[in-house]
Structures are given as C-alpha cells and as structure tokens.
C-alpha cells in the first residue's frame, strides 16, 4: 500500500486573532493498492476539519470516500471516447502493393461512425472497395479501407463521403425541426 499524495487547501487567510468563523481544511489522501505496478483499487478520503472559535482544535466533522475498483485487465470507461495525448484521431496508410488503396485508422470510434462512412463510400461511383472493421472489441478504434479507380483517390473519396454525410445531417435537422414546428404549431 503506498501513500501517493496529500493536498491541503486553505480558503481563508490565517490570522493570530481568535477566529469567529469556521476554517475549512480539505485533506485528500489517495491510497493505491498496487499489483503489477498498476493501481488496482484507489480510495480517496476527504475530510473536513473545522476549527472552533476559541480553542482551535481540528477535528474531522464529515467524511466522504469514493472507492473505485477496476477489474484486472479492463480499460477505463472513458477510454472509449477520450483520445489520449499524442495520438492522432485519424491517420492513414497507403497500401504498398495496390495503387489508389489506403487504410484509415480512426481512434476512439465505433460502429456508429464506421458503418455510416462505409455505406456513404459505397454510393461513390469511383470507389471500388470500402469496408471497416474493429480489430478488437477492447481496442477502441476502427480501420476503414478504401480502394478507388484512378479517377479519384482514397483521400478524396473519404473527404467527399464525410462532406456528403454532413450535408445530409444538416438537411435532416432542418426537415425535422420544421416538422416539429409544424406539429406543435398546429396543436395551438
């Protein structure tokens, strides 16, 4: 068990006069239980120490603790959508053996984006092949593979697909809002 950090926070200035107000000291202790050098269980204790006016004797008046226990190999929940520092959201690799073919690796996305981009790429006449996969359900990224004819390039096709989807969503939003206004307006 290792004591990792403690933090003191004083919101008020200290004076030598008797204090008529209550002074709050916030103390956070974070304890880590280590196994294989990875924190298995963290417990943090927050204590509020209130000082009495005449006899300043700190005592714990309230206690909160949050204990988060993670399974051994499970990643954190926010890993599903938070891109870590230093990793690019989208990167691509051209295929060395086939011309006009590339794989786009999109970090922290899933079937929601993958399927919709793939179906839009299918509509492009210049696209010979378009597919996506999740290499592993616990690795939160997708790989989109695009082959095009020589009239276009995978990058162009990808950008066109995204732009078309963006316009389609704009149209859908306008149509939906108009319909809501029509229905609610008709009720009154």
């Amino acid at each position: 068990m290792g004591l990792s950090s403690s933090r003191y926070k004083l919101p008020y200035k200290q004076t030598n006069e008797p204090i008529n107000e209550l002074v709050r000291l916030e103390l956070t202790l974070e304890l880590y239980l280590f196994a294989n050098k990875k924190p298995l269980q963290t417990a943090s204790y927050k204590g509020f120490f209130f000082s009495q006016p005449i006899n300043p004797t700190p005592f714990v008046s309230s206690l909160t603790f949050e204990v988060k226990k993670r399974a051994m190999n499970a990643p954190d929940r926010y890993e599903r959508f938070v891109v870590p520092e230093g990793t690019k959201k989208v990167s691509y690799e051209r295929d060395t053996k086939i011309i006009n073919a590339a794989s786009f690796t999109i970090e922290r996305e899933d079937h929601t984006i993958g399927n919709i981009v793939r179906m839009q790429l299918h509509r492009d006449g210049n696209v010979l092949f378009a597919g996506y996969k999740l290499p592993h359900p616990l690795q939160y990224k997708i790989i989109v593979r695009v082959h095009t004819t020589s009239q276009s390039s995978p990058m162009q096709a990808y950008n066109l697909a995204i732009n078309d989807l963006d316009k389609e969503l704009d149209h859908l939003k306008a149509v939906f809002e108009a319909e809501v206004a029509r229905v609610s307006g008709a009720e009154y």
């Binding site: 008046s61 929940r77 989208v90 929601t112 179906m119 390039s153 995204i162 939003k173 229905v183």
Partner: protein, 320 residues
Amino acid sequence: MEGASYQRFPKVKIRELKDDYAKFELRETDASMANALRRVMIAEVPTIAIDLVEIEVNSSVLNDEFIAHRLGLIPLTSERAMSMRFSRDCDACDGDGQCEFCSVEFHLRAKCIGDQTLDVTSKDLYSSDHTVVPVDFSDSGAGYENPEDQRGITIVKLRKGQELRLRAIARKGIGKDHAKWSPAATVTFMYEPEIHINEEMMETLSLEEKTSVVESSPTKVFALNPQTHQVEVVDPEAYTYDDEVLKKVEAMGKPGLIEVYAKEDSFIFTVESTGAVKASQLVINAIEVLKQKLDAVRLLEDTVEADDQFGELGAHMRGG
C-alpha cells in the same frame, strides 16, 4: 472538389409528439443512418447527472455508496448540457471539477422527527441552478391531483431519529461512460412493411380459410370485412416480421397469396426519453452530436496535401 455529390435528402413525418415520447417516420435514407441515430441517442447525447456525493450525516438503513448510487441515477433536466463543458475539459476551475461552469451543486437535508416514516424523494434535492432540477414525473393535465403520483423518486426512507445530510455535484457526461447519463429510455426503429394481398387467389378461398389466415397472425394485421368478406390490411405496422401468416398460407397450399416486403429506406422511429431532455430535442441533439463526431473524423489538411503531391507524381509516373 469535382462537384459530384452523393448526398441523400431524407424526409421526416411526425406521427405522434409528446414531451417524453415521439413517433416519426424517416424516409429516403439508409439503415446505417437510422442505426447511427439510434446509437447516438442512447449513448452519446450529453446529459447532466450527479457524479460526486459528499455525505455529512447518514443514519439511514442504506449505506453511503448505496445512496450515492441511487442519487446518480436520478434524471435531471439537462437543457444546459449541450452548451456545458465536460469537467475534464474545464479550465475555469482549479482542477477539481466543481466550478460553476462545469458543474451544478445539490444539497439534501432530511431528518425524520415524527412517528411516521419519512420518504426522502428527489423532490427534497435542492439545486443551485434552477434550470437543472430532478425531473418532475407528475402527470401534467391530470383531472384531480393524485398525491401518489407527485411524490418524486424515493431515495431512502427514514425512521424517527434517522437523518440524512449530503452535498452532491452533478456533471455533464454521456451514456457511453455510465448509463446514468443516457437520456433515452428506449429508442427503436423498424422497417416499414409493404403487404400485398393477391386478390385473385383470395377469391378462391372459403370464408373459413380466410378467417384462419386472419387469425394466424399473432398481431392484428389483417381483418375480415364483415360486409364484403374480403381480407383487408387493417394495421400494416403491427406486423412484427414474424412469418406466421406466410407459413400458414404455404401450409394451405397457396404460396404467394400474401407477400410482405420491408421497404429498405423507410423507417418508423419510436423515441422515449427519461425526461432529462424532451423527445424532439433528443433527436435534434443526436443529429448535432453525430455532426460533431463526423467533423472530428475528417482528414487533416496537411495529410491530404502531402498525399496529393505524391498522388500526382505517382499518376504521372504510371502514365495516368
């Protein structure tokens, strides 16, 4: 770049619209778009929910983390959520995620004094921001006030002498992180069915056979018109794509009597919200969030230009 566009132009028709329930038809778009909307509505539309609980006094029968868990699941009105910042992205507060821009503070003080059991409910949670409050579930427009429906969500029950005092911080989050942040109760969509009845073959059936065909469907899709003795489609959308009618028709020796097609680009959505966001607002927010996700996934300028050079070079070298 070339002016070619493979954009679709979807159409929407709303069938039913209430505060927490919306039923609408979505046409001329793909199943992938309908599914993406459904996934985003459930998991990625942001809401506000209690995330940190500081308990001062708890002498109730439930332990601290039990009560904290229940508080987290209480739906809070989250109109502010789309414009709020995530706590982890907020630079205004000094790192503890409790400033006024990225969080809302609640407090609850309850002590049972009388002999009767005190019900601590979501109505006892007091918010520092009047736009973010626990959702009110009372039936609006009820004839007379039924006190049982208006009490709010029970958090804990206290006996005489038991007390509960706590302070809670609510933050913005998405359903992907924890289900308490999901604004949708259920979101479903189905393909719109197209049912064809072969009238000529139908003529060859006796009344009993027609009745048996009508009865073979578990849901009321067909009905026998009492005057004309014809089998009619009464409610095509009650069809749940079980093939009971088709099996019955084949067993009778008349395949092709009834044919059902699912229209591939026509969907009927049913959206039920928890009350955190209005149902219509939920769909609009989902479209907005999906747009933001697509924007994040665009190729950056530098990679495209660098490759364009190589692309042209390569094209020249290949004689293309």
